[in-house]
Structure formats: structure tokens, C-alpha cells
């Protein structure tokens, strides 16, 4: 698949520029790419329900594959989407054991997002309210919002596509997931204050 290059000025664009510079010989720019995209890759990995150690391995594997295949990647500008696809696939591969490789199309749907009790206990009152509402969304919407929240507006459409969402599920229009979040939060007097 060829993810859509992102509009200017988003995280995806900055990542694309760093990667293009790396390919052109500025090897140190790879560190910049790692710093830029690790938070969004972490959310993409964790939103699949993988344990932290597996998520770390998946992200590391994705970067090593990127280094190995750097020269054969057609669209350096779309590197963020490429990494999201590989990370998601790796998390699922690790979760199932390395019994077989499977393609992007076979990657199952993300589960509903979970926060362990320890993590929930450190939330602020307002974050608890937000978590309650996020939990009512469909698992697919939870996954999408969790990942795009760590990117910038111009990246939403490309990231949604990398996650396997239908075109038009978000960006530049709001899409159903953001609309549902807006509606459910708006209907809660406890959130409005």
C-alpha cells in the first residue's frame, strides 16, 4: 500500500524531511526521526493491546526494517504511515508468536482500550471522566483517537489509513469518531465545567 503523503507542517512532514535527509547521507538525522515519531508509534503499539515489552520490540523492529529498506521505500514523505503499519503488524505478530507471517490485511481489529488499575488510579478527576467517555466509543474509534491524538492535524488522514480505517474516517472532516467523542463529552455536565 502507499500511504498518502501528509499535508505540510505536521509531524508526518517533519518525519518525512528527516528521513529524506537521512537517505541523502545525513545519517545523524535518523535520531531526529526516532525522537519525533516514537510517541505516536508507542500509542499505535499499545492501542493494539500488546504488553509494554512487546510494544518496545515492535517499535525497534520497525526502525531496523526502515534502516534495512531505506533505499527501497518509494515515498520518504510517508515514512510515518509506513512505520505505523509495520509497528501494528509487528505487535500482532509478536502476540501470536512467530508461527507465521501475515499481511496487513489480516491484522485483526484492535481491542477496546484498557488501562490497568494502577494507571487508572493516577488519573485526575477530569481524566477519569474523559476515560469513562472514551471507553463508550467503539474499539475502532478508541484506537483511532488514541493514535492520532499524538500526531498533528495534517497527519490524521494518513494515519487513519495506516491503521486500516476507511478513507474519509477522519481529516479534514471530523469523522464519526471525533463527532461521537464531542457529543458524549458535550452531554456530560461533569465535563463541561
Amino acid at each position: 500500500m502507499t500511504p498518502t503523503p501528509t499535508a505540510p507542517d505536521g509531524l508526518g512532514t517533519l518525519a518525512g524531511k528527516a528521513f529524506a535527509a537521512y537517505r541523502a547521507g545525513e545519517r545523524e538525522r535518523l535520531s531526529e526521526l526516532v525522537d519525533l515519531v516514537t510517541p505516536v508509534l508507542w500509542s499505535a503499539a499499545r492501542s493494539q493491546g500488546g504488553v509494554p515489552a512487546a510494544c518496545e520490540d515492535a517499535i525497534q523492529t520497525a526502525f531496523l526494517q526502515l534502516v534495512d529498506r531505506a533505499d527501497s521505500i518509494n515515498e520518504p514523505a510517508a515514512v510515518l504511515g509506513w512505520l505505523v503499519v509495520v509497528v501494528k503488524r509487528e505487535v500482532w505478530r509478536l502476540a501470536r508468536g512467530a508461527r507465521r507471517e501475515f499481511g496487513v490485511e489480516e491484522v485483526p481489529e484492535a481491542p477496546a482500550q484498557q488501562l490497568d488499575p494502577e494507571a487508572q488510579s493516577i488519573l485526575s478527576e477530569r481524566q477519569r471522566v474523559l476515560w469513562k467517555h472514551v471507553s463508550t466509543l467503539s474499539p475502532r474509534c478508541q484506537e483511532l483517537l488514541r493514535v492520532i491524538a499524538f500526531a498533528d492535524r495534517p497527519d490524521y488522514a494518513a494515519i487513519a489509513e495506516s491503521l486500516g480505517m476507511p478513507v474519509g474516517s477522519i481529516g479534514p472532516t471530523r469523522g464519526r469518531c471525533l463527532q461521537k467523542l464531542r457529543t458524549t463529552l458535550g452531554s456530560d455536565p461533569g465535563w463541561a465545567v
Binding site: 516514537t38 531496523l64 534502516v67 481524566q127 472514551v134 479534514p172 471530523r174
Partner: protein, 165 residues
């Protein structure tokens, strides 16, 4: 009423910022993940062998006169299949460079090139016939060493885990 076909507005962006804060707080990225990934990329790119940190001790070197305060020195030993490396760090000799670090080291390969990779870049030294080398004027902070043998192209580079000096 708003619709899902409207353009994303400031309130949506604010909602997403709250979602971001929620997950960043409840499930933060491990603080050293990015650094570990960069290290793994370096090892991978060099096809290097990773040395194992086997010993770390705070040595105290005492001057000849008892009145002189002992100088604490961190001594660290790494080992890999093809070589071992011992490094100790201490302040520079001159008084006016307290924020710089001198690393004295010993490696089992004479004539090896020892490169110290720091936040400022890298500097290197060649070990003498006894395997000794000195790297001075290094900054405090994280450093890892890459050892190569210029006299033998068949050996893989050895890279050490990052330590603090």
C-alpha cells in the same frame, strides 16, 4: 448541531489534546525507549558485536600523601567474545576544566581504535602496544565506546552499552 462531515474545529483539537494527555499520563512512553532504539540502530548499522557490561566499581585512588583527598573514579569493564575493555573516568589534570572528563582505558587488542561517542560527537584514540589509551576533554553525560581493529578487517566492531561519565 454539529455533524461528522464538518471540518475539524478548535474544540475537536482540544478534545484530542485531552485524549493525548490522558494516555500520556496513564501509559507514558518509557523514558529511555528512544535512546535504546538509537543504540539498536547503531549496533545494527555497524553489524557490531555488543559488549556486555560485566563490572562497575567506584575505585578510590589515594595519593602518596595521606592528606590528599582520594579521588573517586568510576571504573567499568566490558567484555565481548573478541575483546575486553576497561575504562575509568576522572577529572582532567588541569584545574580550569572541571567540567571535562578524562577517560583512561585498557583494551585487550593493541593498536585498536577506540572511539568514544558522546553528546558532542565522537573522538577516538589508538591503543598502544600494551592496549592502553587515553581519551581526554570529553563532556560529562552518556557515552558509549566503539572498538575497531584497523589492522584486521575480518573482526566485527564491538560496541558497548552506554554509561554515564
Amino acid at each position: 448541531m454539529t455533524s461528522h462531515t464538518d471540518a475539524i474545529d478548535a474544540r475537536d483539537i482540544a478534545n484530542l489534546a485531552h485524549v493525548r494527555d490522558l494516555f500520556a499520563h496513564a501509559d507514558p512512553v518509557p523514558s529511555d525507549l528512544a535512546e535504546r532504539i538509537k543504540f539498536a540502530i547503531t549496533v545494527h548499522a555497524l553489524h557490531a558485536e555488543v559488549a556486555e557490561l560485566i563490572d562497575s566499581a567506584l575505585l578510590t585512588t589515594r595519593g602518596a600523601e595521606a592528606a590528599v583527598e582520594p579521588t573517586p573514579t568510576e571504573s567499568v569493564t566490558f567484555t565481548a567474545a573478541s575483546m575486553s575493555l576497561m575504562v575509568s573516568s576522572g577529572p582532567m589534570d588541569s584545574d580550569d576544566s572541571e567540567d571535562r572528563v578524562r577517560v583512561d582505558g585498557w583494551v585487550t587488542t593493541p593498536g585498536a581504535k577506540v572511539e568514544a561517542v558522546t553528546s558532542e560527537g565522537s573522538s577516538s584514540a589508538i591503543s598502544d602496544a600494551n592496549g592502553r589509551f587515553v581519551l581526554d576533554d570529553l563532556p560529562h553525560g552518556p557515552v558509549h565506546f566503539v572498538v575497531t581493529d584497523p589492522g584486521n578487517d575480518d573482526t566485527r566492531p564491538v560496541i558497548t552499552p552506554t554509561i554515564q561519565i
